[in-house]
C-alpha cells in the first residue's frame, strides 16, 4: 500500500478535477466567476480539512487566518508599491500573509490547543470576533476604514499587470492554494504526521500512551491549515478585490461554510472537501438564481439530512464502498 509512487495516486483525481474546472473556465469565460468561486470553496475546504478533518477539532475562528492573510497582502502592496519592486510586492505579500497567519496560529494554538473538543471550539469563536474588534478599536491598519490599495497596486506593477492580477492571476493562485492543500494533505496522510493525527482524532489519551506527542502534531496541522488560509485570503480576497475591511474578512459565515463543505464531503478524506465544495458552491449559486433569498432556508434541512444519512460524508461513504476495488486506491 505504501510502496513508492502508488501511495500518491489519489492526487490524480484531485489534479484532474482542478484541470477540468480550469478548462471549463478558459473555454467559457462567462462562467469564470462561478469557476473562481468554486475554486475558492475547494481551497477553503481543503485547507480547513487539514486541521478539522485530520484532528477532529473544530476551529470556529478559522476565518481569522484568511482575514489576516488578506491584510498581509494589503499591507505589502499599500506600503511597498512605491519602492520599485514591481511584481515583487505580490510575492512579499504572499510571504507576509504566510507569516501573519503563522504568527496568529501560534498565538491561538498555544492557548486553545490545550483545550479539548467542545472547549476548543468555544474558545476559538472568540478569536475571530476579538481580533476584528482589536483591529477596529485600536485602529490597527486603518481600523474600520480598512485599506484600499487599488491605486497602489496599479502604481506598483502598472495598469495592465494590475488588471491581469485581479481578474486572472488571483484566481489561478486560488487554484494553486487548493492544489497545495491537497498535496500537503496527502503527504501528511502518508507520513507519520498523518498517523499521529489519525490516532489522536480517534482517541487522544490512547494516542499519548502510544508515544504520540499529541500537542506537537495538533500544532503542526493547525499551523499548516492556517498558513494555507492566509495564502487563500491574500489571493482570493486581497489581490482580487484590492481592498480590505475588517467587517468583510473577519466574517464568521466563511467558517461555517468551511465546516459545511468538509462535513458534506467527508472529514479527513482527501477528495471530500472538493466534492463538498463543488456541491455546496454550485447549489448556492443556482439557488441564488432560482430562489433568491431562500438559499439558507433550503440549505439548513438539506445539510441536516446529509449529516444524518452520511455521517462520514459522501466521499467517506464512497471510500468504504470502494475499499476493495481497483478504484479504491484513488479514493481516499
Amino acid at each position: 500500500m505504501m510502496n513508492g509512487y502508488r501511495a500518491y495516486l489519489p492526487i490524480l483525481p484531485v489534479a484532474a478535477t482542478y484541470a477540468l474546472l480550469l478548462g471549463i473556465g478558459v473555454v467559457s469565460p462567462d462562467h469564470w466567476q462561478l469557476i473562481a468561486q468554486l475554486a475558492f470553496y475547494c481551497a477553503l475546504g481543503q485547507a480547513f480539512n487539514l486541521f478539522m478533518g485530520m484532528t477532529g477539532y473544530v476551529d470556529f475562528g478559522y476565518v481569522a487566518f484568511l482575514g489576516i492573510g488578506t491584510y498581509g497582502m494589503a499591507v505589502s502592496i499599500y506600503t511597498l508599491s512605491d519602492k520599485g519592486l514591481g511584481i515583487g510586492v505580490v510575492l512579499i505579500g504572499l510571504v507576509l500573509a504566510a507569516i501573519f497567519s503563522l504568527g496568529l496560529s501560534l498565538a491561538v494554538g498555544a492557548v486553545a490547543l490545550r483545550l479539548r473538543g467542545a472547549y476548543f471550539a468555544i474558545a476559538t469563536i472568540g478569536v475571530n470576533e476579538g481580533f476584528r474588534y482589536l483591529l477596529e478599536g485600536a485602529r490597527i491598519w486603518n481600523g474600520a476604514d480598512g485599506i484600499i490599495f487599488s491605486r497602489h497596486l496599479r502604481q506598483g506593477v502598472g495598469r495592465q499587470t494590475a488588471m491581469a492580477l485581479s481578474t486572472w492571476w488571483a484566481d489561478i493562485l486560488v487554484f494553486g492554494v487548493a492544489f497545495l492543500a491537497a498535496v500537503l494533505t496527502l503527504v501528511y496522510m502518508r507520513n507519520k504526521v498523518g498517523y499521529a493525527l489519525l490516532a489522536l482524532r480517534e482517541d487522544e489519551d490512547a494516542a499519548k500512551v502510544m508515544g504520540i506527542n499529541v500537542t506537537r502534531y495538533k500544532i503542526i496541522a493547525f499551523i499548516t491549515s492556517a498558513i494555507l488560509a492566509g495564502l487563500l485570503g491574500a489571493s482570493a480576497w486581497a489581490l482580487k478585490l484590492t481592498y480590505v475591511y475588517p467587517s468583510d474578512v473577519f466574517a464568521i459565515h466563511y467558517t461555517v461554510e468551511a465546516i459545511i463543505i468538509v462535513l458534506l464531503g467527508g472529514a479527513g478524506t482527501l477528495l471530500g472537501p472538493i466534492f463538498g465544495a463543488l456541491t455546496y458552491g454550485a447549489a448556492k449559486y443556482f439557488l441564488a438564481i432560482v430562489l433568491p433569498g431562500f438559499q439558507l432556508l433550503i440549505f439548513a434541512p438539506v445539510i441536516i439530512a446529509i449529516i444524518v444519512l452520511f455521517p462520514d460524508g459522501t466521499v467517506g461513504l464512497l471510500k468504504k464502498r470502494l475499499r476493495d476495488t481497483p478504484l479504491g486506491k484513488f479514493i481516499i
Binding site: E202, V209, M210
Partner: protein, 251 residues
Amino acid sequence: MPLLKVRNVTKCFGGLVAVNNISLEIRHGETLALVGPNGAGKTTLFNLLNGVFPADEGQIIFEDVDVTHFPAYRRAHLGIGRTFQIPRPFNSATVRENIAIGGMFGAAGSEIDVDRAMAMADHYIEVMGLSPHRDKPAGGLTPIEKKLVEIARALAMKPRLLLMDEAMAGMNPKDIDKMVAFLKEIRETEGIAIVAMVEHIMRAVSGLAERVLVMHQGAKLVDEPTREALSDPRVIEVYLGKPPEADHAHG
C-alpha cells in the same frame, strides 16, 4: 538494578486516597501479577506508572531515569507500553495501521518510518493470528480481537515494560491458556517485563506470574512469589472474606 522502581507513591482524588504510599520494584524480564478486588487502586497505579496523570507524592524511576514528571508519551519513548481494560483501538484505522502506529511512535519510533512500521505490523499480525483482519477497520472487530490488536500494538512499541490491564478478562479458559503461553514466549524472546493486572483470573496468575502484588484499598497488602501469595490468608480474606467463626462451623 531493577527496571522500574516505585518509591512511596500516593495519588488522591479529592478525599479518596486511590493509591496509598506504594513502593515496588520490577526486575528486567520479570512477570508480576497485580491483583486486588474492584476499587483497590490497580488502574490508578497503572495510570501513575505510565503517566496518564502525575503522582501527588513519591518517585517513579525507570531504568535509572526519574520519570515522575514525564508525560505519557515520553514514558512510552523510554519503553513503557500499556494496554487498556476496555480495548481502545483507533476504530477507523485498519488493524495493520493500528499496530503500525505503535511501532512508529513507540520506544524505537524515531528510527522507524511508515514502511518499516507496516512491516513490523505484518509480523505481529502473523504472530497474533490476525491475518484475516489485516485490512479491516479495527472498530468492527469483536472485543477479543480488539484486545489482540491492542496487545500487538503495544508489542510493536518495543517496550521494556508492558502494563496489561485485564488482558484476559472475558476470554474462555482455552484462550487464556493460549494467551499465557504467548506472553511467556514473548517474555523470553523480547525480554519484556510484564505487569499484568488481574481481577480474578487465578488461572492466568498461576500460569504466568512469578510474583504477585495484592492491592487492597489503595495500599500494598502482599508482595511475594506466586505460590505463597495464592495461599496467603490475607489474600484469601480480601477475596472471600473472613473464615467462619468456630461456633458457625458447629452450627
